[in-house]
Symmetry: C5
Subunit: 128 residues, 5 copies
Amino acid sequence: SKETINKGHSRNPSNGTSACFLSEWVTLNVGGRIFTTTRSTLTQQDSHSMLARMFGEETDVSWHSSVDDNGAYLIDRSPLYFEPLLNYLRHGKLLLDKNVNPEGVLEEAKFFGLTSKSQAPDDNSSIT
Amino acid sequence: SKETINKGHSRNPSNGTSACFLSEWVTLNVGGRIFTTTRSTLTQQDSHSMLARMFGEETDVSWHSSVDDNGAYLIDRSPLYFEPLLNYLRHGKLLLDKNVNPEGVLEEAKFFGLTSKSQAPDDNSSIT
Amino acid sequence: SKETINKGHSRNPSNGTSACFLSEWVTLNVGGRIFTTTRSTLTQQDSHSMLARMFGEETDVSWHSSVDDNGAYLIDRSPLYFEPLLNYLRHGKLLLDKNVNPEGVLEEAKFFGLTSKSQAPDDNSSIT
Amino acid sequence: SKETINKGHSRNPSNGTSACFLSEWVTLNVGGRIFTTTRSTLTQQDSHSMLARMFGEETDVSWHSSVDDNGAYLIDRSPLYFEPLLNYLRHGKLLLDKNVNPEGVLEEAKFFGLTSKSQAPDDNSSIT
Amino acid sequence: SKETINKGHSRNPSNGTSACFLSEWVTLNVGGRIFTTTRSTLTQQDSHSMLARMFGEETDVSWHSSVDDNGAYLIDRSPLYFEPLLNYLRHGKLLLDKNVNPEGVLEEAKFFGLTSKSQAPDDNSSIT
């Protein structure tokens, strides 16, 4: 659908008021590796997660994020285990490759606050 | 054959009229990783796919694609799962490596509109 | 918790006196691959490890570290086996992926002095 | 032997007449990933392959190769499957890693014209 | 030990006379991938290997090494199979990961002259 296509790729500045102040595209430097994504991806699945709070519209003014020389937001975590989490934020499914240790992904999920305890027991969209 | 060789590598400006306006070579920034390919690769397998619509000759004027600082088109998806899809567009075969989760590739195929439902049931060139 | 979030991402200069002289974020060039992390990660698990001594506050003045053209600290070791060690420093768990030879990680742990012999026999937070 | 060492590493301009016009070292941008190699590697195993014709001394004048911003020759193929082919050109053996789908390498071998049909049936130095 | 730490990381110019003329840190461009290491690593395990002869103090004046635009020494070999060899030079153990074809590493060992035939039969520090 048109909607799906627009979500990730195009961004018409006239679509939202906040777009004037916050760039939709975000670059993250996770442990030395660069990830490119959008604010909507980082904030949509769980509004209480650490990433949603870092990149959402109502960002706390007292929040201090560091950026590297290229303007990428610095995150001191493992890029290997962050990758499946970012994909989870993109389409709501947690998919692991054979080579990746699931415990590592779980550690990252905990760190980013993506293991919601407030969800109903049979809500299978949560990570753990 | 000469034809095969020409497809990917050389591009004589006198071969087509549209080449004056659209660069044949395209750089994509998929989730932070760079892919280099050609417009003909992105558009040839399925003229209705999202990539064909983004990079084809009759691109919708209202389409807004973002590019990064190096001019690469930004796509907010997983590079790991995009790679086999791009290869599918190159030679028409979907090949997976041991390490790659097939579900991840299917998610990307859905996102890019490469799972054609209009194909005949025994057309085994489709992805799903 | 707020504390967890602050650890990796934001760094308020007013929090510590040493922050005026030492940058909290550190870039390492391990065998040609770049890792980004923080001084607190490198120093927190074992104050006697080589990394803690390299990047801690009471760094020996006679210590000469080389940096590459981008200011990353040069370490002549394998990036493949350094990665799980750095993650160990981040969250205290040594996690290996299927593809990684455990012996290689052990060699790195020895080199960096992260195989503490002073720990109690049943302290399962040590690497070996 | 001295000969072996010289092959890959040093190149004395006085050794050959063509060296004045063609740089021995070649950079390829295969699908977005950079490979560095030499003209002699690309041309030595099979003088009729596409790469030998692209980078050999008797290059067809009508051949148009595109280069990226850094001068690397653009090739619209998979870097993952190109890698074992390039190694085959370096030492004459086709070696696959566990993770790599052999069908992908075969597709690339076909594309580059490295599956010679003119070889004797029991010549086991050919790829297929 | 202090000695171990100094080996890889710090280099006091006053320690050796040759340090004035040869930079201890060396960058290699192996087939397109960058490796950073030291001259002492490249020369210590086998003084007759190709790398020892390329980067040792008594380098043959007639030796012509090419460097890329960033000053990295160009080597026309596979980075995948070079990596375990470089680690062997770092700590004297040849360690392979599951994914890596041992035959590929052996080909590189032969090319670099690291398969010493002059060693005693029961010297298990040799590669083959």
